[in-house]
Structure formats: C-alpha cells, structure tokens
Amino acid sequence: MLLRSITLFAIGCLASSCATVIHGWNHKFTSPVYIGDRSGKVFVEGKEFDIKSVVSGADVKTKHNNYYTYSTTVTTTTLYFDEAVLVFPKQKYVTVEIRDTDDVTVLESYLFRRDPRYAFFALNFFIGAGVGSIVDLGDNLAYDWELVAYRKFN
C-alpha cells in the first residue's frame, strides 16, 4: 500500500516535471532583464554579454506595463538570460554593468533580484510547477527580475 502510494506520488512528480520542461521549452529557458537603452558594452557578472542576445524590447515594455519603475529611460533594452545558466545554480541576484569601450570603466551598474516568490523554483520544478507552469504561461509571470539598485557613474 505504501509502495503504491509512493509510486503514484512519484508518477505525479514525473508528470509535473514533464509539464515544466515543456513550459521551459516554450520560454526557451530564457529570462528577460530590462536595462536602459545605452551605448556601451554589456557585462553580466563580470563577463561580456553576447551582444547578439541583446534585443530591443519595445513589445516587452508594453506587455509588462512599466513594471520596472526604477527605469528612467523611455526605451528599454532587454537582455535574455539563459535560464539554464542562471536559475539552476539558484542565482537570486545578478549584476549587469555597462562599461566603456576599454572594458574596464563602469558607466552604469544594475543589480537585479529574482522575484522572491519564485525562490522555490527548484523545488517546484519537480513537484508543483507542472500545473503551475501552465497557469503561469497565461500570466507571463515566470522568471521576473526586479531592479534593486542602479548606479550611474561619471
């Protein structure tokens, strides 16, 4: 009886995991972060960000209805982070810097925090996120980051 119960629960976990993978696939395992529309090189966690991944985010801005009120610019640039890189090591914070062409001089720095509501993402990946992910698809809530700190240097 116990074994059967465990097996049934485990099968539920498997189904949930499969749904989550499908969900992740739909999102292409990326996570958008919005920064001001700037000239300069983009560094994430001290490493130069692949400029090909920087996409103009006009549609995203509309969709999120100026969610990031910290932003002082009208236009935004969206960085699509690789979820597989950022989420699974349970990274809760990420630093994005805009540097000058010398790669050293920091012009601006941003600190982003993963939405705390998703602190249990790793757990949910196997247990609860299956159905939740489907709900989430409609809400477009997954993988939100909030801007915590911003500095502009002269």
């Binding site: 485990a10 498997l14 914070y93 925090r113 509501r117 915590v148």
Partner: protein
C-alpha cells in the same frame, strides 16, 4: 514499461527530496529581508530594535547582498543598518503575498503556519537616507 516509469518517477521523487534538503541548507525557507551594500565591509543590522543575524547571500561586481533572518515577519519593519560607523534607519513594509497554490503546494500551508507569506523590498543601504 510500468517498471521503467516507476524507476524514473522515483528518481524524480528523490530529486525533490534532495531539493528540499538543499533549500533547507540554503536557508531559503526562512523569511528574510535582503540588505544591499556597495562595500564588502561588515554590517550591523537591527530589526525593530533587536540585533538581527544575517548571512552573505551574494557578492557581485559592485554589490553585496546580505540576507537578514526575520524571527517575526511583521508588516512594518524598522531597519537600522550600520556600516563603517554610519547608521541609517528606515521603515519598510512587507506586503502579504498571494499564495501561489499551484506553484508551492504544501509549502503554502507551511508558510501560512509560519506566517511567512510576506514579501519585503530589498534594503539598499546607500539609498536608505534618500
């Protein structure tokens, strides 16, 4: 076929258990508020007049994040942060978070029991006196 599914499923279950243990080790299940500084110097934090414990959560290129453990996650928190002899104080509000039942399942029940379903903004030390 059923045996194969059972084996894979059990692997997922074990993985879930491992994740729970991992979260426990990471103290992610404890309610806390994050204090962000631009200097790695140690800080002293008081919450509602009482000294609070914290641990380093993130050390980035320009920012350092410390997670302060909250014993009682009240709506209003009077936070004082001292770094390099300079003390800054401010009151922060934690809104109740709508339980994402589908996402957190049993964890929501646990959170309700612990009274931890609040979401606090990060405390940015340099901005506390703005």
């Amino acid at each position: 076929m059923i045996k194969l599914i059972s084996i894979v499923s059990l692997a997922c279950l074990l993985s879930s258990c491992a994740t729970i243990v991992n979260i426990d080790n990471n103290k992610s299940w404890k309610m806390g508020i994050d204090v962000v500084t631009e200097s790695p110097e140690p800080i002293s934090v008081t919450v509602n007049g009482r000294e609070a414990r914290y641990y380093k959560l993130y050390e980035g290129e320009a920012y350092y994040v410390n997670r302060v453990i909250l014993r009682k996650p009240k709506r209003d928190l009077d936070i004082s942060v001292t770094q390099n002899g300079v003390t800054k104080s401010r009151t922060y509000h934690g809104d109740k978070v709508k339980g994402l039942f589908w996402f957190t399942g049993l964890w929501v029940l646990l959170d309700h029991a612990k009274g931890t379903l609040r979401q606090y903004p990060a405390v940015v030390y340099e901005d506390m006196d703005l």
